[in-house]
């Protein structure tokens, strides 16, 4: 498949978006929002498309919406009627996903399809074709290479795009990608020198890996009560901003919202382990009683629990949590320190 490359001009991309729109297919891609930041947005055309900037929030919300109705209900006499809603299976295309965002999707497929199949998640997954872009370059908080992903990673992408002088070079990665290319082939041309692989990703990372995930995992698994967790959490406000921007944090809460005495909706909403409410029992008791336990939980889940259960690190190294943290908490710093201890004498 690596050789199956095409290319598309900027104008071609524009007309592709127009055709998709005409065909009733939603196009999603990075674009500026009112405060000037870039987020994945629904695109009417290509004019606002901003592929060169990492979106503030990840692609996750297009598969696990911030809030979504699961069903509606109505009481009728002694009966309760459950009203099923139309499934979220409208066809969509993501244009210009970051590799660290695309890579998160197959990681999450594992948990979403584990003991039961999460229908809304897979309905959206199946209805969506993902055209990722090769990373145009990150900043000091990026660490995808530490967690087994690369700026040109194909994970989660149906097609991969890389900027070239005349537009974009496009590489098919999955059958779904191939089908998409076939369906809209009139907008694409064969790539020049089809033997060429995609050019390397943006600026190469000069730094050596900051942490070895295996060592980190081993240390975490044996240091649940380590005083480090007390110290690392001091500056944490428990705001959960990290989870909100994270491509892999996927916890949710399910609530019933009555609209009157006889009807309402059951909804699923994002939740985060960083708040006290997340673990508070009905009795008032909270097993994770303070922020230390919550900070530990986040690292633990991503780098030990999830890998143990699903064989994948629950992190794509996008660096958003470090960028968004209001008090300067940095996951790479935490991992590096753990790794140092783990590698040192008396380590894991």
């Amino acid at each position: 498949m690596m050789t199956n490359a095409s290319q598309i001009t900027q104008a071609g991309l524009s007309s592709l978006v127009e055709d998709l729109r005409q065909a009733g297919i939603q196009v999603i891609g990075p674009a500026r929002v009112t405060d000037g930041a870039v987020e994945y947005q629904r695109l009417a055309d290509l004019s606002g498309w901003t592929p060169g900037v990492q979106p503030r929030r990840s692609l996750k919300e297009w598969f696990l919406p911030v809030t979504e109705p699961l069903f509606r209900y109505r009481k009728q006499g002694p009966r309760v009627l459950v009203e099923e809603l139309a499934p979220p299976d409208a066809p969509r295309v993501v244009l210009g996903a970051y590799p660290c965002d695309a890579a998160a999707l197959p990681i999450l497929d594992a948990v979403m399809g584990w003991d039961y199949r999460d229908d809304p998640w897979f309905a959206r997954r199946e209805a969506t074709v993902i055209l990722s872009q090769v990373c145009p370059g990150g900043d000091a908080s990026c660490f995808c290479t530490d967690v087994g992903i690369a700026p040109d990673s194909a994970a989660g992408a149906d097609l991969r795009m890389c900027p070239i002088e005349s537009g974009w070079r496009v590489q098919v990665e999955t059958g779904k990608g191939e089908a998409f290319l076939q369906q809209w082939s009139r907008h694409f041309q064969p790539a020049n020198g089809s033997k060429n692989p995609l050019p390397p990703a943006g600026p190469p990372r000069s730094e050596a890996p900051r942490a070895n995930p295996e060592r980190v995992r081993a240390w975490i698994e044996t240091h649940f009560e380590d005083p480090f967790w007390q110290e690392v959490a001091l500056r944490c406000h428990g705001c959960g901003g990290c989870a909100a921007v994270c491509p892999t944090c996927h916890c949710f809460d399910i609530v019933d919202e009555p609209e009157n005495p006889v009807q309402g909706a059951r909804r699923r909403n994002w939740d985060t382990c960083q708040t006290a409410l997340f673990t508070r029992h009905a009795s008032g008791h909270n097993p994770r009683e303070d922020q230390c336990g919550r900070c530990r939980q986040r690292v633990n889940h991503k780098f030990a629990i999830y890998p143990a259960r699903f064989g994948r690190i629950l992190c794509t190294g996008c660096g958003r949590c470090a960028r968004t943290c209001p008090s300067g908490q940095d996951i790479t710093e935490i991992l590096a320190r753990i790794d140092q201890w783990a590698a040192g004498p008396g380590g894991a």
């Binding site: 009481k75 009555p258 609209e259 009157n260 005495p261 006889v262």
Partner: protein, 673 residues
């Protein structure tokens, strides 16, 4: 699971004419949790109430909604009925489909829809009602009476005669108040002292009255049934236990030129004095601002004089006596601090009150106020009852009385009527005529307000039989011309200016509350109007209660009052107090706020907004006994149930029982259908 019963009342035709009651009952039947819904002609009738009781018993109802009239009309009725069937009365709610629906709408369709909505909101509410118990508060069955004038005396005696202990606090050295200064009283012209003095003595001798004269209320804590009052017993410089009231000290005092408060400045007293011969208690007091020894002390000089101590055979003079604070536990408080007369000079002590400099009060010695005239007319007064003018001691042949000085005058800061002046001026003209047979009394008045038993007859007698000359109009200026006073005014009936000579001018100045009333009201947490008069709880129905439960008001501190009014009010407060003291426990509606300890963050916004000071600080301790948090606690004895705390609490950690957030929420939700 809720089992709600709905009872829709036709109220004869009152509701049934515009609301389809059967349809209301039917619509409510479909609501989740409603197990019984019926309509009936007259729910409040015996058979109607029986239906409610029967349904509670047979269907095991957990809540009742009666869709009928206003809860102000029949809530008590149906709660009693529910209670009679074994349901907690607070699980019964009224849906007002009469006053708020059938009586104000004509469209049957819309009125019925509205009635269904109204009833539904109450059904949803009652599902979240919780059984409540009336609150029982222990009552300390002793009363505090503040003020030892006629109102305070009457209240104290009535309560004490009713069998309860009374603490009576008077800030002056003697009880008696203004009534002890009066010569004779309208409309009967009986001697004020003669009727008052026995009452004063009775107070002094009463086994159930503890009298603190020359004392003031320092602070008040607690709430109805449970007040803790700190009283400052000001230093008399005389040991009360040793003094036998012989009066030798007052005779010995060399400084005999102190203007007497009792004589309104018309007489003198020594620095150690008993305010008047019939004073109760009959104990002298050293006026430290006038005593030579204390004046020397203030200047850092050695103690000199001590003439009084030398004269005292009991060794009762104590120059080093200090103020003492005593604490009394009481269950009710009667405020009877009385009045003062408006100072008509230029100095009023308040920015919004303007004096009457044009009348020369304070500069012209023969311009006096009504109380001073009382002293001139009093047999025990400085002139031994002869009317003699202050400047030269001559008998005035022409006396001009001016009414409404300060009163009914928004420009001067007091728009209210002082009520007693019309009557006492008429009395003064008579007293004057009786003592100076060839004298002429002239009265300038705005209106004559003589509403009261025998009052109008009294003023008519002054005018028609005693020859007082009444001129309707106001005086603009008074000045001195040799020995006479020139009075310039205007007769509004004849429309002519008037200029007349007078030997003495008497000003009927406005009645004002005592100075310091605001501070006292704040200590008691009772509201007062902008003049400082204590507000009654309701002008018609609760005239002697205040905004704070357990605090009552009598006499002229509430509004200008004459003696009969003050005494009636005082007896009314006594009756209220005795009613409150009828049982050891006080029952209160459970509509009070309750704090959720676990959620209260202790920001105390609730404390700041509480109109009653019902919020206290409570320490939450861990098992080791250490204080881990300080949270709010609402004292159910003080809380009146307004719920302002709950609306203010950001985390809703305080709930007003009967109107909880959950109850209101469900009512709003019910309207979403």
């Amino acid at each position: 699971m809720a089992r709600i019963g709905v009872f829709v009342c036709h109220c004869g035709e009152n509701i049934g004419r515009t609301v389809d009651c059967a349809r209301v009952a039917e619509a409510l039947r479909d609501l989740p949790g409603v197990v019984h819904s019926v309509d009936y002609k007259y729910m409040c009738s015996d058979p109607g109430q029986q239906m409610v009781k029967q349904a509670i018993a047979e269907k095991g109802l957990t809540g009742v909604v009666v869709a009928a009239c206003s809860p102000h009309m029949h809530e008590k009725t149906f709660r009693r009925a529910a209670s009679g069937a074994g349901l907690n009365p607070f699980l019964c709610e009224m849906a007002n489909i009469r006053e708020h629906c059938s009586w104000i709408h004509e469209d049957r369709e819309m009125a019925t829809a509205k009635a269904i909505d109204i009833a539904r909101t109450l059904v949803e509410k009652v599902k979240r009602n919780r059984p409540l118990k009336t609150i029982q508060i222990p009552v300390t069955r002793r009363a505090l009476v503040i003020g030892g004038g006629i109102a305070g005396i009457q209240a104290a005696l009535d309560i004490a005669d009713g069998g309860r202990e009374v603490v009576l606090v008077e800030k002056e050295p003697s009880i008696g108040g203004h009534m002890s200064q009066l010569s004779e009283t309208f409309p009967t012209l009986d001697c004020s002292q003669c009727i008052l003095t026995p009452r004063m003595v009775e107070v002094y001798q009463h086994p159930r009255i503890r009298l603190y004269a020359y004392s003031e209320v320092e602070s008040v804590q607690g709430y109805i049934g449970n007040f803790r009052v700190t009283i400052r017993r000001k230093a008399r410089s005389v040991d009360e236990d040793k003094c036998n009231g012989c009066g030798a000290c007052t005779q010995a005092c060399p400084n005999r030129k102190v203007p007497s408060e009792f004589e309104c400045g018309l007489g003198k007293r020594p620095a150690i004095y008993v305010p008047f011969p019939q004073a109760v208690p009959n104990l002298p007091t050293i006026d430290r601002s006038r005593c030579l020894l204390f004046l020397n002390r203030a200047k850092g000089r050695p103690d000199t004089c001590k003439k009084c101590a030398e004269a005292c055979s009991k060794g009762a003079i104590d120059f080093d006596q200090q103020d003492r604070l005593v604490t009394e536990e009481v269950g009710a408080i009667v405020v009877a601090t009385g009045y003062q007369v408006y100072s008509i000079g230029k100095e009023t002590g308040r920015d919004d009150l303007h004096g009457y400099g044009e009348y020369g009060y304070g500069t012209l010695p023969d311009v006096i106020d009504g109380l001073q005239f009382e002293r001139l007319a009093s047999a025990s007064g400085p002139t031994a009852g002869r009317i003699l003018r202050p400047s030269d001691g001559k008998e005035p042949k022409r006396v001009v009385f001016l009414q409404c000085i300060g009163s009914r005058d928004p420009a001067k800061g007091m728009e209210y009527c002082s009520k007693i002046c019309c009557m006492y001026v008429a009395k003064h003209t008579m007293l004057y005529k009786h003592k100076v047979h060839d004298g002429q009394a002239t009265v300038f008045y705005m209106d004559i307000r003589a509403a009261g038993k025998g009052y109008d007859e009294f003023t008519r007698r002054a005018i028609e039989e005693e020859g007082a000359r009444y001129i309707r109009g106001r005086v603009s200026r008074i000045w001195r011309d040799g020995e006479v006073l020139k009075v310039q005014g205007f007769d509004t009936l004849s429309g002519r200016p008037i200029l007349m000579d007078a030997d003495l001018v008497v000003l009927a100045t406005a009645v004002r509350p005592q100075p310091g009333i605001e501070a006292l009201a704040q200590k008691l947490n009772v509201s007062y109007d902008r003049h400082g008069f204590i507000n009654e709880a309701h002008p018609k129905l609760r005239p002697v209660e205040t905004s704070t439960a357990g605090v009552f008001v009598a006499g002229a501190c509430q509004a200008p009052r004459d003696i009969p009014d003050s005494v009636a009010m005082a007896s009314a407060t006594a009756s209220k107090v005795l009613g409150l003291f009828a049982s050891e426990m006080l029952e209160r509606e459970p509509t009070v706020a309750v704090v959720n300890d676990a959620l209260c963050a202790g920001c105390f916004h609730c404390e700041r907004v509480c109109p009653y000071g019902a919020v206290e600080h409570r320490e939450v301790r861990n098992r080791a006994g250490q204080v881990v948090r300080v949270v709010a606690y609402v004292n159910p004895g003080v809380c009146q149930g307004c719920g302002t705390c709950q609306a203010t609490c950001p985390s809703k950690s305080v709930e007003l029982q009967g109107f909880t957030d959950d109850q209101v929420y469900q009512q709003i939700q019910a309207l979403g259908l």
